[in-house]
Amino acid sequence: MSQQFVVAPLLVAMLTAIATLVTRRFDRVQVTLSLLGGLGYLGAVAWLVSKVDPLGATEVFSYQLSGWQAPFGITLVADSLSAFMLAFSAVVALAALVFSASYVDTYGQRVSYHPLFHFMLVGVTGSFLTGDIFNLFVWFEVMLMSSYVLVVFYSGPEHTRAALHYVVLNLVGSAVMLLAIGGLYATTGTLNMADLSRRVANPAAYGLADGGIAPVLGLSALLFAVFALKAGLAPFQFWVPAAYRAAPAPVSAMLAGVVKKVGVYAIIRVYFTVFGAAALSGVSLPGFAVPDDGSALLAFYGPILFVMAAASIIVGGVGAVGRDDIDGLLAYSSIGQVGFIVLPLAIAATAPTEEIRVLGVAAALVYALNHGFAKSLLFMASGAVYDAVGSEQFPDLGGLTETAPWLSGGFFVGALALIGIPPLSGFFGKMLVFDAAGRVESWLALGVALFGAILTIAYFSRAWTRGFWGDPPLLVQHGEAKFSLVAVVVALALAIAVLGVGFDVVMRAAEAGAHAALDRQEYVEAVLGNGGGHA
């Protein structure tokens, strides 16, 4: 199959990383190349999106690396789900790159800021596109390796300590992931996601051991812990605040806006597309009923996802209310917002009908997109404030609306988007979450979402009144926000508004993504060829 465009974003990001590495000594050239690379990446992603999702008939494309046929070789797969994730990641990445161009100083550039950034992008892209579960591990490592270095970038006492926790935790996570993948390979005999999906759907036909689904369930739960760690879901959220505070602002924007979504994407892809096909029988779990239909393994994750989402919303929200610095507040808020992304997934996992299932996944995708834009905007706004004032502690701030009206305006739009005020994209995200919870009449989910929404309003109004209103102290009066930094923030704010106004397109794309996540048959056929290839 010659569908090479699937590999295009990956190649662009990798070539840019190498080009910026080679030109490390020439600052201007490096920045120019890096920005061009960011643009090229956006272009490559746009090309891929236009092929996969030309509004209407969506298709799944697979690219078999070196022409090795699917279950044996490594496959890259582009469907509406990965296209959706890639599309907003590319926009956020470009914004972060433009921001970095003037935020990171020459010395920072010399210590390989730009190559690292692009290698992180390579890892993110690979994770979105891979159709092979071991490859997912490899791309995770590529992404994490760069993010380790970027977290410790300033290498002060705070930063080294944050990085130490982040690194050790993720290394243990990687070992656990390897264990889960090895176990899955031993029980199912394949690593290809499509093949895996086909085999767990029909275990008897592929010679899986008697009741072979039970070990798959356990191993997939082990894998789930790793994805939850990457996504920063409670109870695996404790590395988030320190790491986000330590990293440079555009990197925090990427970590919260994009890298976290890789964990969310992995949860959707692996549990809805791959393991969702498995029927569970002979496994009884104390405490809740396992329905006896086609997607019982998925239903097992429903309550787990729900508890984690609810805990994240509460821990993140309550934590954010008590913070005394912008970055800390944003980091805790991002724990809470990931809860909002996962909450509709929990509903989708146990949903009685296909319609609600699609709605739930689509809600998660819309919310992920909104959080990707809004949170990266807020982190960059916080970076611009730090750049101008030299502090992002609330006691040192105040009156920014007077000295930096555009920057404050951008922050305000980002906060409103996360709170969910129409016509910003956040409103629809929240509405869909409530809608999904309402359709299954889950009052508990509605209550948690409402509580989380109120907490969001509480901590953002607190940030707004303490940081942006009032009389500007001396520090703020003398600080001047850099034009290029503010421009990025304002551009992202405009993007959020445009997405909210033209929400039809976003919703269609999200629904296509949700269909792609749930349509296992199409995925399997696209990867393994018609008829499912080798039996």
Binding site: M145, G156, A163, L164, V168, S174, A175, L178, A186
Partner: protein, 114 residues
């Protein structure tokens, strides 16, 4: 017989790694993480099945019931080992940097200096 020995060794390795990760000394934590990821690698090799002949010599036995030892897991382990090298090196450099910044590699004291 090999299976039992390997299972026991794996168990001991994991236990040792976990024990070290829970120490206060950062260098020991890094050692612990390294041992855990190495034991994950060993575990990965065993997942291909231990019976059967050498993968290359016994080539052509696709699909047969454990006719050959699965060569794929060995490719996986190679990848994992390379990644492990990189991360271990980085973790050690980071440990040194932590020592430079804080003057200690005791995790309790690191926590106190917040």
């Amino acid at each position: 017989m090999t299976q039992y020995v390997l299972a026991a060794v794996l168990g001991v390795l994991f236990a040792l790694g976990t024990f070290l990760v829970l120490r206060r000394d950062v260098v020991r934590v890094v050692w612990g993480v390294t041992i855990i990821s190495q034991s994950a690698n060993v575990y990965l090799v065993t997942m291909g099945g231990l019976s059967g002949s050498v993968p290359i010599l016994g080539h052509g036995g696709h699909g047969g019931e454990h006719a050959v030892t699965d060569p794929l897991v060995q490719a996986l382990v190679l990848t994992a080992i390379v990644i492990g090298f990189g991360t271990t090196a980085f973790a050690l450099v980071l440990t040194y940097r932590v020592y430079e910044e804080h003057g200690t590699i005791d995790l309790l004291e690191l926590g106190d200096s917040a």
